[in-house]
């Protein structure tokens, strides 16, 4: 965001860090709002605001959605969201949409934080499984629940336009490409649904349980797949006719803490041992790797640098080699 990196950490702190120097410019301590908050979801950055959810994955947890003014980093509003929000914040015009750990979609007025509508899936989440990040297409919000139901919702009113029951928990974020909705379930399939009625148009079995983000990369989707304790990265075409490639790493595989980060012709993934690897989007072959200390837990970047978070709480600016620029 400009010259400032906006980073949340597992001690409940939000940080604004100068991306050129690594100098800290700003912090916000969400722990002062109660509980033991952490930050896991991607913030929404609008022209005026930064909106991000905190989560506290305990039965008595305290989590919020926060909106900060982008120019001053002043807190504009906060919304108490039960045990919080660990998924990403999405937007349509003046509304932000979040999914709480209790699997409830909440539409919030971006200007005030006031609730416009809510929809609870009814699924229990005693294990604090990651909720599926919803997606906007046209005037609709597409949401996948922990009980395996896909919803097409009217984004303005929250009215249910369609439901489609999948065999298992929706275990990935929702991805939209044109009029197609993509999501994966814990039963090991990626689905393509029509946005109008939620009709299943194609499905593909992957080798394991698709997890966390479905990341668009050209004519493919990238997804972490968990199988027998190993996390692989798989590339599936939008046609869902076959797994294009899968790439693993020594047990336990890639670190699912850090979402696959698409950068030009590569996707960058990290490992618990600190390596981060650039895989070619075309075939998944490793083209380049670097290493930091600690488990890679977050990856971002710009034209010349990567920004890597680790579970040790260190944020690292890493100058890319010339071949990657």
């Amino acid at each position: 965001m400009g010259d400032l990196l906006f980073v949340g950490s597992c001690n409940g702190m939000l940080h604004g860090v100068d991306r050129r120097t690594g100098e800290g410019r700003w912090t916000y301590n969400a722990a002062l709002d109660g509980g033991k908050p952490e930050f896991h979801g991607r913030p929404l950055i609008t022209g005026e605001l930064i909106v991000v959810g905190s989560d506290d994955r305990r039965p008595e947890g305290v989590g919020h959605v926060y909106a900060f003014e982008r120019s001053t980093l002043r807190l504009v509003w906060k919304y108490r969201a039960g045990a919080g929000v660990a998924s990403d914040v999405v937007q349509l015009r003046e509304t932000a949409y979040v999914v709480t750990l209790s699997d409830e979609v909440v539409a919030l007025d971006l200007r005030t934080g006031a609730v416009q509508w809510k929809l609870a899936s009814g699924a229990s989440n005693d294990r604090c499984l990651p909720n599926s990040t919803p997606a906007i297409v046209g005037e609709r919000l597409i949401f996948g629940s922990l009980d395996g139901t896909m919803y097409g919702l009217d984004a303005k009113s929250g009215a249910v336009l369609w439901r489609r029951v999948l065999p298992a928990r929706v275990s990935t974020s929702v991805a939209i490409v044109g009029d197609n909705v993509f999501a994966g379930d814990a039963d090991g399939r990626i689905y393509r649904l029509g946005v109008a009625h939620g009709t299943i148009e194609a499905q593909l079995r992957v080798n394991g349980s698709p997890s966390f983000k479905l990341v668009r990369a050209g004519e493919s989707l990238l997804v972490f797949v968990h199988e027998s304790g190993v996390m692989t990265l798989q590339s599936v075409p939008l046609a869902l006719d076959a797994v294009r490639w899968m790439q693993g790493a020594p047990r336990p595989g890639w670190s699912s803490f850090a979402w696959p980060y698409v950068w030009k012709d590569w996707v960058i993934v990290g490992r618990e041992t600190g390596e981060f690897v650039a895989l070619r989007l075309a075939d998944g072959q490793a083209a380049w790797q670097g290493k930091v200390t600690g488990t890679v837990s977050g990856i971002g970047g710009d034209e010349t640098s990567l920004y890597l978070g680790t579970t040790r709480g260190t944020l690292i600016g890493y100058a890319l080699p010339a071949m990657m620029r």
């Binding site: 001690n11 190993v230 790493a249 690897v277 670097g290 290493k291 978070g309 709480g313 944020l315 010339a322």
Partner: protein, 45 residues
């Protein structure tokens, strides 16, 4: 890349060809490059 990192990369490659993963799943075409840590910021947690 420093010699230490090159050694780590090689070790990683070798490990990738080990018993945990079938060879076709292992990253095999690593190229040493010259990226470098520019700065570090401690978030405290």
């Amino acid at each position: 890349m420093t010699p230490l990192l090159i050694a780590a990369a090689i070790a990683w490659q070798l490990a990738g060809l080990g018993v945990d993963r079938p060879p076709e799943h292992a990253a095999r075409t690593l190229v040493a490059a010259e990226g470098a840590v520019s700065w570090q910021y401690e978030t405290g947690g």
